[in-house]
């Protein structure tokens, strides 16, 4: 019993953190020719919950994730983790980028081990192997990134984040390049993982159904500069079904908010 608990601590089982986004505005370029991207965005993510961000292409979703990751500082507003201000990148908040961005000179295995090595955490072989099994890449541990398909590279990038047991996982269309069956598997894995490790997830997606399947709250953004135009609480019980009337009603609601009420919402 004691050893099991100790093992869990050694393995670094993560505990989710809450995320606060307060009146965040952001722009690119200098004051004279600024490109406003985020306009007074505020929301909270309770610890261990999953929030999905939906919005038209180019509205500023990836930018928002970079701000939460601490890679850029917002022009205005504050971002907090458990009410502590975010000032820079940290492995407790891990961003899985829209592109896989694997290091081409490292094998898949070495890519996944990168974070552990960077922080000097020894003996991570088991964790790496486990993460690779989880994303179905155990057989490609020794492959170089140029030998992977787009979807495999994306899964490797996902494993590279997971292995660090982050408190907050920021996912930027992580399953966008996967075929629909693999995507479903990965979605199920993500759900199971989020439950098991209780980490907090902020998920950017273009897929309304994915948002409804995974998230407890869905934020719909306007075109750039992004404002929150709709907030959908999604308390559907698990397992969720796409043909559930409540599911369909919410999907319609969101599509209308995205401006596709006429053509597709029915």
């Amino acid at each position: 019993m004691v050893t099991a608990a100790a093992k869990k601590i050694v393995a670094g089982a993560s505990v989710g953190a809450s995320v606060q986004v307060r009146a965040v505005s952001h722009a690119f370029g200098d004051a004279a020719r600024a490109l406003p991207v985020l306009d007074d965005v505020s929301f909270d993510v309770p610890a261990g919950e999953t929030v999905a961000l939906l919005g038209p292409s180019g509205c500023g979703k990836s930018t928002l994730l970079r701000l939460i990751a601490g890679l850029d500082a917002p022009r205005a507003g504050r971002i907090g983790l458990d009410h502590v201000r975010v000032v820079g990148p940290d492995p407790s908040r891990l961003l899985v980028f829209q592109d896989p961005l694997l290091l081409p000179w490292r094998t898949v295995e070495a890519n996944v081990a990168y974070g552990l090595q960077a922080r000097g955490i020894g003996g991570g072989e088991d964790r790496v192997a486990q993460a690779l099994r989880l994303v179905g890449l155990a057989d490609f541990a020794g492959a170089y990134p140029h030998e992977l398909s787009g979807g495999m590279a994306q899964r490797a990038a996902f494993a590279r984040a997971l292995v660090n047991h982050p408190r907050v996982l920021l996912l930027d269309e992580p399953f966008g390049k996967l075929d629909s069956l693999t995507r479903m598997t990965m979605q199920e894995e993500l759900l199971a993982l989020a439950r098991r490790h209780a980490f907090t997830t902020i998920l950017v997606t273009h897929d309304v159904e994915e948002a409804l399947l995974l998230a407890t709250k869905i934020l719909v953004f306007s075109p750039r500069p992004a404002r929150i135009i709709r907030e959908v609480d999604n308390g559907l019980p698990f397992p969720r079904f796409r043909d559930d009337p409540a599911f369909i009603a919410r999907r319609r609601d969101i599509l209308i908010a995205l401006g596709h009420g006429e053509e597709f919402a029915r």
């Binding site: 990148p89 940290d90 492995p91 908040r93 891990l94 961003l95 980028f97 000179w105 140029h146 660090n164």
Partner: protein
Amino acid sequence: MSDLTGQAAGSAALPIAVRPVFRPWWPGLVSGLAWAVAAAVTGLLPDQVRAPVARPLVELEGAVAILSGLFALIGPSGWCAPLASHGRRVAALGVVVAVWEVVTAKTGWLPLPFFPSPQAVLDVYRIDFARLGHSVISSLLLLFPGFGLGALSGFLAGLAMGWSPEARYWGHPVIRLLGPLPPIAWLPVALFVFPTISAASIFLIALATAFPVAVLTASGVMLVDSRLYDVGRTLGASDGFLIRTIVIPASLPHVFVGLFMGLGASFIVLIVAEMLGAKAGLGWYLQWAQGWAAYANLYAALAVMSVLFSGLTMALFAARRHALRWNRETVQW
């Protein structure tokens, strides 16, 4: 369509029995002939001009002819398979040697002392082996430290300039102004700054290597996809770890281009510095041979240089292939 099926049926109907018809390996056959002719010309025709005993050359030509003939019979296989692609080149070389023999020793159409016969050049390796060997060693004793020092300092300078804007600010004008100077132009300065000619030569070789390596390393570092730094930083990498695991490997393809340019420049500086100042080395040997009108020695030394320098270049290629085996482009080179 019917033609295709007809062929397929034909090849099926004519089974293995027909296959073992003897088919010589043509390049080997041609090469054997060419070298046999060369050996005959060398050994049987009388010399018209003064030339050393042709016996060793005849033996060499005969050996190549016999080996070629052997390959013509059995085909290039086993340990000699890599030679296969050179078959026609070896054959052409036989023709060149035969013609060379005819226009020098056998007819004297090309005058001595400028155009020695093949056996005279071959003789140099027997008579002057010690001096030539010593020259090679003393050249390498300048080249290796000079190139190593230059590659290392150029790499470090380029890394600093690519990574730090401050280093770039100070390094840029130096590279801009001094880079275009041919390194050998520093020879007079180097000769009084350094206590020995060897030290001066090593410095010049290092200089010649360092500039291209520094420039290309710096540009390689600056071309690194900055999103990879974002990845590293979010995963908890320190600056030192980023440099070791991202900056250096990402810039390596450029670094190797710089190393190739630096290696070429270092050969030039080596030979010129040895011609102008040194008392040993291949450059000095060329000067010495010219001074004695020993043109056979000159050609023999040039041949050694070409083998040596192309060997070093190939070694660098091999190192590159090994270091960049992750790179898809490398595989295709």
